[in-house]
């Protein structure tokens, strides 16, 4: 790289200093100090208090469940897409990406309207004389919102990984006597691991940190760790505690990122 082309990265470098490096530094500063400015680990340790630990546990649990559901929905679809020879698969992928073009908040609000006690779904059920659903303000509603919003992030890396597998490698497994199930377990699944890891990361991380989905679909009783942090910043105005909890969350995310970097050497997840 010449020294001239290095300057081309200057706008982005400036951007990342102002909007990424400095804010991160501030989070670290606030997280590791108390109101007097003295160093403390109290804000980090605060995660162990009952309410915070409960929120973190619920966040991890719901994120894991959502990730698993996304995986189970996306894998078969990605396999079908990867085996579609014609240009049809571009169209099918478009269908799955299409909702992403709409604002995330709007989509989640739409689900709120659909799921509400007197919402669209229940109105239809009442009209049909069927028992009403009580999904809104339950963990199920949050999981539904997460799966709906993050599913495309699972499909695309899986599709990329599966499409890359040489058809003759699968033919070779059949040729050597392997049936469909054995070929899937021993060949297709292991070869798609990079895509699986990226997909999991790309669903799990945003699901873990979300506060919008839980706020809109989970009501005020179901707090995720994202909601707790948001409240510390906006309502309680305790930036120190909010930053401390953010650092804890970041540690979780970094662990996930490291795991994905180890497995996803080819950067399948970088498509989005």
């Amino acid at each position: 790289m010449t020294s001239k082309s290095k300057w081309l990265s200057a706008p982005y470098a400036l951007w990342s200093v102002i909007f990424i490096i400095i804010p991160l530094g501030m989070i670290l500063y606030y997280g590791l100090t108390d109101k007097t400015g003295a160093f403390t680990l109290d804000n980090i340790i605060a995660i162990t208090t009952a309410g915070h630990a409960k929120a973190l546990r619920l966040s991890v649990l719901l994120s894991l469940v959502s990730t698993l559901i996304c995986f189970l929905l996306a894998y078969p679809l990605a396999m079908i897409l990867a085996n579609t020879k014609t240009n049809k698969h571009h169209f099918i992928i478009l269908i799955f990406i299409l909702p992403m073009w709409m604002n995330f908040l709007l989509r989640t609000l739409a689900w709120q309207t659909l799921l509400e006690k007197n919402g669209v779904i229940n109105s239809v059920l009442t009209f049909l004389n069927l028992p009403n659903l009580k999904i809104i303000n339950t963990p199920a509603a949050i999981v539904l919102g997460m799966v709906y919003n993050f599913l495309p992030f699972m499909i695309l890396p899986l599709y990329n990984a599966l499409a890359k597998i040489d058809k003759n490698v699968i033919n070779a497994a059949h040729d050597l006597g392997a049936g469909s199930v054995y070929t899937f377990i021993r060949i297709i699944l292991p070869l798609s691991v990079p895509g699986i890891i990226s997909g999991i990361t790309m669903v799990f991380v945003p699901a873990l940190t979300t506060f919008v989905i839980s706020a809109l679909l989970g009501g005020s009783k179901l707090l995720l760790i994202g909601d707790v942090i948001e409240q510390e910043f906006t309502r309680t105005s305790n930036w120190h505690l909010g930053s401390g909890l953010s650092i804890v969350l970041m540690i979780f995310i970094v662990i996930n990122m490291i795991a994905s970097a180890i497995f996803d050497k080819d950067g399948e997840g970088s498509m989005l």
């Binding site: 003759n168 033919n171 040729d175």
Partner: protein, 357 residues
């Protein structure tokens, strides 16, 4: 000839309305090295995929040792395939790759280990058990692909242009190794290639294909020396293909000049094509030749000189170790035995089309 192993009976296959194979009939005998040879799109790979079970023919039957296996899936067929570009399992070690088929057959650990050892020895890659496929060169990967197939002791080994991705020197080396392996293992090989030299070097039988039809089946010698039509003559090696008139048995008029030949049974004054290999054209002093001409091009090819001689209105391709400079007047002589008479093509499919390889 030994026992019949495979019979392709009246196989037709089309893709998207395009006929790829048209009523193909082919018999392959036990312990034979058969090469399907032809330009791309001639149907040779489709034929191989039908044998392997990866493609189902529209009509016709695949008979294996007397049993109809047309609808038997690939994993239940008593044969194995070596794929173009190797198709190794990149997430497994070499040993795991080779053991793949044996583990499915539930062989004992001892048996599998012995087989891995034996197969690696056979392909000259002793000690590579724990390497990963990506760390091997193309030639080595191809050998592993062969090892992975043969440990299963198939009765038939299908090879789909296995040497296509290798450089020339490695390709020639592998050709000799394949012949050695085939003789050591005593199994039937069906080999697909578009490389006529590869076909001539390795095969017991060559099946020349074009546009979904078999053009000629025969030993390398008969295919080279007695091509049945202009396509085969043109595809296998260089040749002079000249329109001619068969005056009577053993006498042919080429470019208005009478040449003695050895062929009979073509009738009287019948238009034919003659094939004369460039190495069979003898250049002599002008008055000693049957035809007189002038050397127009000269290229040094290493073993021989390649010359073009304008004689009788035709540009003759000549290979000779003797140098005749451009502009020199020469006479052309051809031994009657080296003039191969062919019937004119009756259908378009048999015509010598331009070859894109």
């Amino acid at each position: 000839m030994s026992k019949e192993l495979i019979h392709l009976n009246n196989i037709s296959k089309s893709f998207d309305g395009q006929m790829v194979l048209d009523e193909l009939d082919l018999t392959i005998h036990e312990n034979e090295f058969v090469t399907l040879l032809g330009p791309s799109g001639c149907g040779k790979t489709t034929t191989l995929r039908i044998l392997g079970g990866f493609t189902t023919p529209d009509t016709g039957k695949v008979i294996f040792d007397g049993r109809d296996i047309t609808n038997v899936p690939p994993n239940k067929r008593p044969l194995n395939t070596v794929f173009q570009k190797y198709a190794l399992f990149t997430h497994m070690t070499i040993a795991e790759n080779i053991a793949f088929g044996l583990k499915i057959k539930k062989k004992s650990k001892q048996y599998i280990n012995d087989k891995i050892h034996y197969a690696l020895k056979l392909v000259n890659l002793d000690g590579y058990e724990n390497r990963m496929p990506d760390s091997l060169s193309g030639g080595q990967q191809q050998r592993i692909a062969i090892a992975r197939a043969i440990v299963n002791e198939p009765r038939l080994l299908l090879l789909d242009e296995p040497l296509g991705a290798l450089d020339l020197k490695l390709r020639q080396e592998m050709q000799y190794e394949l012949i050695r392996m085939k003789n050591e293992l005593g199994i039937t090989f069906v080999y697909v290639t578009h490389d006529q030299e590869e076909a001539l070097t390795m095969s017991d039988t060559i099946v020349v294909m074009n546009q979904g039809y078999i053009q000629q089946i025969g030993s390398p010698e008969s295919i080279y020396n007695e091509p049945e039509n202009a396509f085969v003559a043109d595809f296998i090696g260089d040749s002079n293909i000249i329109p001619a008139i068969m005056i009577e048995d053993k006498l042919v008029s080429i470019l208005g000049t009478r040449f003695a030949c050895v062929d009979t049974g073509f009738g009287h004054n019948k238009p034919v094509d003659v094939v004369i290999r460039p190495e069979d054209v003898e250049l002599v002093a002008p008055l000693d030749g049957i035809l007189q001409g002038v050397v127009t091009h000269l290229i040094f090819k290493g073993v021989h000189y390649e010359m073009e001689v304008m004689a009788g209105g035709f540009e003759w391709l000549v290979h000779s170790t003797a140098l005749h400079p451009v502009g020199q007047e020469v006479g052309i002589k051809v031994d009657p035995f080296n003039i191969q008479i062919m019937n004119k093509p009756e259908s378009e499919d048999e015509e010598a089309v331009s070859i894109d390889i």
